[in-house]
């Protein structure tokens, strides 16, 4: 069997440990000078692709990212984890605030077709916009089946068995190749890039493209009217003992007295 060709989408986001601050103009959050890293779910997607390659099920891993110049750091990280080549779709700053899952999925669809990939692996959601849309939209545009929120992927002949994290537990579906998979947290534990691999990644091919190369126009049908801080909770109180806590809960009717 010739190996599968896998495309992995990677988003550069504000690091998950950073406490975000709303901008004074209330149209977004402060991103300048803030630590960014690869979206955690995308790291899981890269890891899964690399594991498929290590099992000799995949032949080539292409990573792609849409966004400003700095996204190349994200792509280098993916290359250092074991991806073979990278495509950076450079989105100018003026367009980047309008870039939405619908645009990214259109761009990835073009790349997937051009690179003749069999599987697209994406994170289930980006931790900045929390949309959870791109994988599903990409599957729709390509007219491929989707295996969302995957916690286990098993290759079959011409198809994949995907175990999905659903509300009441787990479910397993079979999807025919080519297919789109989105990763959930428990799919794997992503590896750290080692220094030698980081050095090697610098020599791996990275192509820069523009959205117009793929005929995709970044025009958003959504207009952000405001971004605001969530309502803050007033400080509570410390109770000294279980007795007192239970008394409070009884008073409020949460327990029988």
């Amino acid at each position: 069997m010739s190996g599968l060709r896998i495309l992995v989408g990677c988003k550069r986001v504000i690091d998950y440990a950073v406490k975000v601050r709303v901008r004074p103009d209330k149209l977004g959050v402060v991103t300048e000078g803030v630590k960014h890293s690869m979206n955690p779910f995308d790291e899981i997607a890269v890891e899964e692709a690399v594991r498929l390659k290590e099992k000799k099920l995949a032949s080539e891993i292409i990573v792609a990212s849409c966004g400003p110049q700095q996204n190349q750091e994200t792509l280098r990280t993916a290359l250092a984890m074991g991806a073979d080549k990278a495509i950076h779709v450079l989105v100018e700053d003026k367009d980047y605030s309008n870039l939405q899952p619908i645009h990214v999925s259109k761009l990835l669809a073009k790349i997937a077709a051009e690179e003749k990939v069999d599987i697209v692996l994406l994170g289930k959601q980006a931790i900045d916009d929390d949309c959870n849309q791109t994988g599903q939209m990409l599957a729709a545009i390509l007219d491929w089946p989707q295996g969302t929120f995957a916690s286990k992927v098993v290759k079959k002949d011409g198809s994949l068995d995907v175990t999905r994290e659903v509300d009441g537990g787990l479910e397993t579906i079979n999807i025919k190749l080519p297919a789109v998979i989105t990763t959930d947290l428990r799919l794997n534990e992503p590896r750290y890039a080692t220094l030698p691999n980081i050095m090697k990644a610098k020599k791996k091919p990275l192509t820069t493209k523009k959205p117009s190369d793929y005929g995709v126009e970044i025009k958003s049908s959504h207009q952000v009217l405001s971004v605001e801080d969530p309502p803050t909770r007033e400080a509570g109180q410390k109770v000294e003992s279980v007795d007192l806590l239970v008394a409070k809960l009884k008073e409020a009717g949460f327990m029988k007295s």
Binding site: K19, A139, I175, D229, S241, L249, F254
Partner: protein
């Protein structure tokens, strides 16, 4: 016997109920919410003009409760038609036709909808969209809804709106970003608005009082040779479902192992509560992942949330900070969870939980 409480004005202590009321109003009427007057006017206007499809979630036997919350949200956009797609799902259609606010129930009964696979459901919704020309397609923000709505939106070439927590007017919606640390208000100019609804942000629609017309739709044309359902492994529990429980007790890394969750189950059963967990507890294998509460797990907003041995990372707070009353039990007085807790007990959970359990009368 005198017990002291720190930092609490006496007026609040004398009535926990009034505290809960104050918090209730704060949470349910945030600063971005439209005034009731203008909303009712808008709704009245919209009802005459707009039509909304709600994709009902069910297991072929009963409706999933989050559908009722989605219906409430949908009523703010227009006349509500519900779609029940499944196999032998007549009972669900009947249940839905009685839900207050539901004007019409479309029933697509066919084996092709087994497992509610998005490949089959999308084709069905597209066919219905052609026929009825809905202005809104809405589903609960559950695993099924999140999987389905963006697929439909892409086929319609529109930009979906995920997990809304508010509807300002016919094209303006409110949602959270960055794990609930910012609230975004956006205006959509798409001709069809494809939306998922965060259940905890909207009241459940009444299950009586409705008189929806039921109409069978042909699902014959829908074929799906791309995907198939194999099996399901649902966590069995007699406790209430997390998303709709009035009380939720959650354990974190501090529980140390899965067996120790037994303590929480015992307390939960006495208090008729659901049991949740932090990501740390799930990743450590203490409990199954469908119990995870947080940005990447379930979002809950019960009347009472008791966090046990949970530090309160941003990602966990995203899933529970709209709870009306939050209690934290943690031996680390510096744990961030105490910053959102209405009542904090700094104590070893292994002492506190059994003691608490022994004090609860069944």
């Amino acid at each position: 016997m005198t017990k002291t409480i720190f930092f609490a004005p006496v007026s609040i202590l004398t009535s926990f109920g009034s505290l809960a009321d104050t918090m209730f109003s704060r949470i349910n009427r945030p600063h971005w919410a439209p005034r009731p007057h203008s909303l009712s006017q808008t709704v009245a206007l919209l009802r005459r003009l707009q039509s909304t499809l709600v994709i009902a979630e069910h297991n072929n036997e009963v409706l999933t409760p989050v559908t009722l919350n989605a219906i409430t949200a949908a009523q703010k956009t227009g006349d509500v038609t519900c779609l029940v797609a499944g196999s032998q799902c007549g009972k669900v259609a009947e249940e839905l036709s009685k839900v207050n606010g539901v004007k019409k129930v479309l029933v697509a009964d066919n084996e092709v909808y087994k497992g509610f696979l998005p490949e089959a459901l999308t084709s069905l919704v597209l066919a219905l969209q052609k026929q009825f020309n809905f202005k809104y397609v809405i589903a609960p923000a559950s695993a099924t809804g999140k999987g389905l709505i963006p697929r439909i939106a892409a086929k319609l070439d529109v930009s979906p709106i995920s997990e809304i927590i508010g509807i300002k007017d016919k094209d303006t919606f409110v949602r959270t970003i960055y794990a609930g640390n910012a609230i975004q208000t956006l205006k959509s100019s798409d001709a069809v608005k494809c939306i998922t609804v965060r259940g905890t942000a909207f009241e459940a629609a009444q299950t009586t009082g409705g008189s929806g017309v039921t109409e069978k739709v042909s699902g014959e044309a829908v074929k799906n040779d791309q995907s198939s359902f194999i099996s399901q492994e649902l966590t069995k529990s007699d406790r209430p479902a997390l998303a709709s429980a009035r009380i939720v007790i959650s354990g974190g890394r501090g529980m140390k192992n899965g067996e120790n969750f037994g303590m929480l189950y015992e307390l939960a059963d006495k208090m008729k509560a659901a049991v949740g967990a932090s990501r740390a507890a799930v990743d450590a294998g203490f409990v199954p992942n469908d119990m995870q509460i947080g940005q990447t797990g379930k979002i809950v907003a019960p009347d009472l949330y008791i966090a046990v041995g949970i530090s309160g990372a941003i990602q966990h707070l995203a899933g529970m900070k709209d709870s009306k009353v939050i209690v934290a039990i943690n031996k680390d007085p510096e744990a961030p969870i105490f910053q959102v807790a209405d009542y904090g007990l700094v104590q070893d959970l292994f002492k506190a939980i059994p003691e608490m359990s022994s004090m609860v009368k069944v």
